[in-house]
């Protein structure tokens, strides 16, 4: 079973690493900075992929696959892009036993290689929009790594779209950041703030970057997804022009957007506890474990457990029985709490006599008596739905309790150690940089949602927390992963 997991209170960072490794979600590999995503962790990624892929297709996107390698000259075509990415690339210099004439970068992101194809595919407005997504691995050389959150190689999806007008591309940017918000909140049960990044935090090569930001249990922020308005930057870099409806030539308008296996780290940090993983039911491959208490008429108990599992599965609830006799029920309880199975059901001979079983929810650890009758699947389904909804509400409450509106810099400095801080900013990169230097807090997001803006009075004018200069709006500061 599990090695002991450090408590969150004792050492939050160590708790995270202990949990990831004990629950067999991921492990460091023998390759510097690269992780192995173990089957338990990969199963979560598969559930995420399935939900996201469906949402991408419902919004008109198709999947494709572009090369892993990018010629050095391609990366260099977009000035900000190469400045942002070149220093963190892995570089292939030899292939097939020979030194290459041109170095190949292992993709850190695929704008350049994709736009070199789009240039060939797009001639006229009739070829637009082009709405393509790719599921792939990418590599960014990292000095300090942390499983799922920051590794040299990670898995992600990257959408790359091409449009005839800036209005359409901006619509796409917003559509996709909203898809991410819906996914984060409805599947991951993780509330997120949707909004814009400041210029200094945006993607290298973008005109504008939108993001969703979540709060972890230590009060830090985690950027959970981004959607970029690339303007005509990459079309110009790759000379990708099209004939408009009006018959003139124009450069194509572009977006890109992505989420990665980082989301698994976010999921863990948002919900899990000192016993192990807490998984929202919608992302659990196995939602219910049934543990038979093998006393008295063992065969009858086991048969009951199996028939319960069969009934749940017939009703679309993935359930399984752990009937191993080498481990005690107590050991199993701990093991499945560690693994984050959303609902545990125990059933013994006395329960069967009474026509009941005991179900425990992983998030609250609350036990409920369920009736062993034809409504079993309905009862369990109700527990799972309630758990999904309650996890979101709990995380939302936590975020609200750990968000402070602050007006003086001294309070600001202590407040950013605890959670999100809403404060006035004078809009300059200098102030942003100085605050970062002094506190390590950054501007996470300029929220776009009116209910959030109103709740925190973000549109009331005031003075900058740092410079004292006039400020037209408040922004969200936090320390971040």
């Amino acid at each position: 079973m599990a090695d002991k997991i450090t408590s969150r209170e004792a050492d939050y960072s160590q708790w995270y690493i202990d949990l990831v490794r004990s629950a067999k979600l991921a492990d460091y590999s023998d390759v510097r900075g690269c992780m192995v995503i173990r089957p338990n962790g990969y199963a979560v990624w598969e559930k995420m992929q399935a939900a996201l892929d469906r949402m991408f297709k419902e919004t008109g996107h198709v999947n494709a696959y572009f090369p892993l390698f990018i010629p050095e000259s391609f990366i260099a075509k977009e000035a900000e892009h190469i400045e942002g990415f070149a220093p963190e690339c892995a570089v292939v210099t030899h292939g097939g036993g020979e030194e290459l004439a041109e170095k190949l970068y292992v993709r850190p992101t695929s704008e350049t290689i994709i736009w070199s194809s789009y240039k060939k595919w797009i001639q006229s407005y009739r070829d637009l929009p082009l709405l393509i997504n790719q599921w792939a691995n990418v590599v960014r050389w990292e000095m300090r790594t942390r499983l799922f959150l920051r590794t040299t190689e990670f898995l992600w999806q990257e959408g790359h779209t091409a449009h005839a007008t800036p209005e359409e591309s901006q619509e796409e940017v917003m559509r996709m950041i909203r898809v991410y918000k819906t996914f984060a909140e409805e599947y991951m049960a993780m509330p997120v703030i949707m909004g814009r990044k400041t210029d200094s935090e945006k993607f290298a090569g973008a005109d504008e970057t939108y993001c969703i930001e979540a709060m972890m249990q230590d009060g830090k922020a985690l950027q959970a997804g981004t959607s970029h308005n690339l303007g005509q930057n990459f079309a110009k870099a790759f000379d990708c022009q099209f004939q408009t409806k009006e018959g003139v030539l124009d450069y194509v308008w572009a977006t890109s957007w992505g989420v990665s296996t980082r989301l698994i780290g976010a999921l863990i940090m948002a919900h899990s506890d000192d016993r192990g993983l807490v998984l929202p039911p919608k992302l659990a491959t196995r939602q219910v474990v049934i543990i038979p208490i093998l006393r008295g008429d063992k065969a009858a108990v086991l048969a009951k457990a199996e028939s319960m599992a069969a009934e749940l599965k017939e009703n679309g609830i993935p359930a399984f029985v752990d009937d191993s006799e080498q481990n005690s029920p107590g050991w199993k309880f701990a093991e499945y709490e560690l693994q984050g199975i959303p609902v545990r059901i125990e059933v013994g001979p006395r329960d069967i006599d009474k026509g009941v079983c005991i179900a425990a929810r992983r998030d609250t650890l609350e036990k409920t008596e369920l009736q062993l009758d034809a409504t079993l699947a309905v009862q369990v389904s109700g527990m799972l739905s309630a758990m999904q909804a309650d996890m979101f509400q709990k995380a939302l409450r936590f975020r609200e309790e750990n968000t402070r509106e602050v007006t003086d810099y001294e309070t600001f400095k202590s407040a950013v150690e605890e959670g999100f801080v809403i404060a006035h900013w004078d809009g300059t990169a200098e102030t942003e940089e100085k605050i970062k230097e002094e506190t390590r807090a950054t501007i996470r997001v300029l929220p776009e949602e009116s209910d959030y803006r109103e709740h925190y009075h973000m549109d009331e004018p005031g003075v900058c927390i740092f410079s004292g200069k006039p400020s037209s709006q408040k922004v969200v500061f936090a320390k971040a992963y």
Copy 2:
């Protein structure tokens, strides 16, 4: 629409490339030897992945993800393995702006990186079997490339399993090659011969390689999947020992097995024709296109087409309407034949008056009148099932017609230019090599299936086609992709 596709008769190789590019399945990229899998091609891969992934899970496997990079010293640990793979690897020498202390190979296959993890995960027989699959990209430097069939980077799945006994690992090897055979025949409608490879054709590092071999329309063979019995080779290379039930230490027994995007090339070469792609319905994302003939009461025709599509979709048949007025019905017929939509339905005002529509099957181009009544979905479903079955039978007949049993070397030399040749072989690598040098034909497979062996009298003793020495069995020779 499509550029003209060269006919198979005129130039089979050019036909293939023309088809792949005209149907927008894939394209060469600006990176040497690497392809772009375009949305139409990737959709086929997604259908293949879904079916295979389900079959892997039904046989007890789970997915995981291991690093892209393999330290040079790992590849070197298994002697045959490094000899086979090192010359065709892409090598990363720089990362994060600095030269690396140890070179990293971009994985050509993952046995070594995976066994370096398995060593940590396996201590006792209780940890076995370990049944893991990975969906990933791999890189093998290729001098002469061909879209899907041979490219520097390709996508695949690689299963890597660990077992306590050689019997169990051999069972796994056979289970998975049979899964591949089932997939090839039931989904791809492509008959395959299942059997063993000779020593010279087996995987670098395997004790034994099993394969499925298919015949393309030019009579050449294509290896469509392999399953390797790795013995204890990788366990020994990585010092991966476990405590047996009996309490002694032993090395773990291993298998690996894989199929790749090469299957898309096989699918095209097995079934397609001079008009374009012919897709078996089970691998078609869009199974039915409805083309309204927009004459007379256009709105009524369009409404009928839409209601037909809705009815088909409700019954699980993915159908869509092409109602664009800028292209003629004739243009659309050609376009969807090129794209390989299995069934095309045309419906016009006169059809509606008569209560019928005209459906055409892509494989035979045969037209059938369907009744526009409540049984429409049943009628279409019947067409799709018949098409799936007929495509398999046609390919099987083709293989049988192009397989010859040959007893003299002169006939052999001309026969291998046409198709598969069943002939006696003395069992030596020397003979195998000389035949390859003289004819470019190789021993594709030592069939394992008794019906195939009996049909071609493979177990009757005789004399080697080349050396005249005694031979205990016949084998299958062919030129191959």
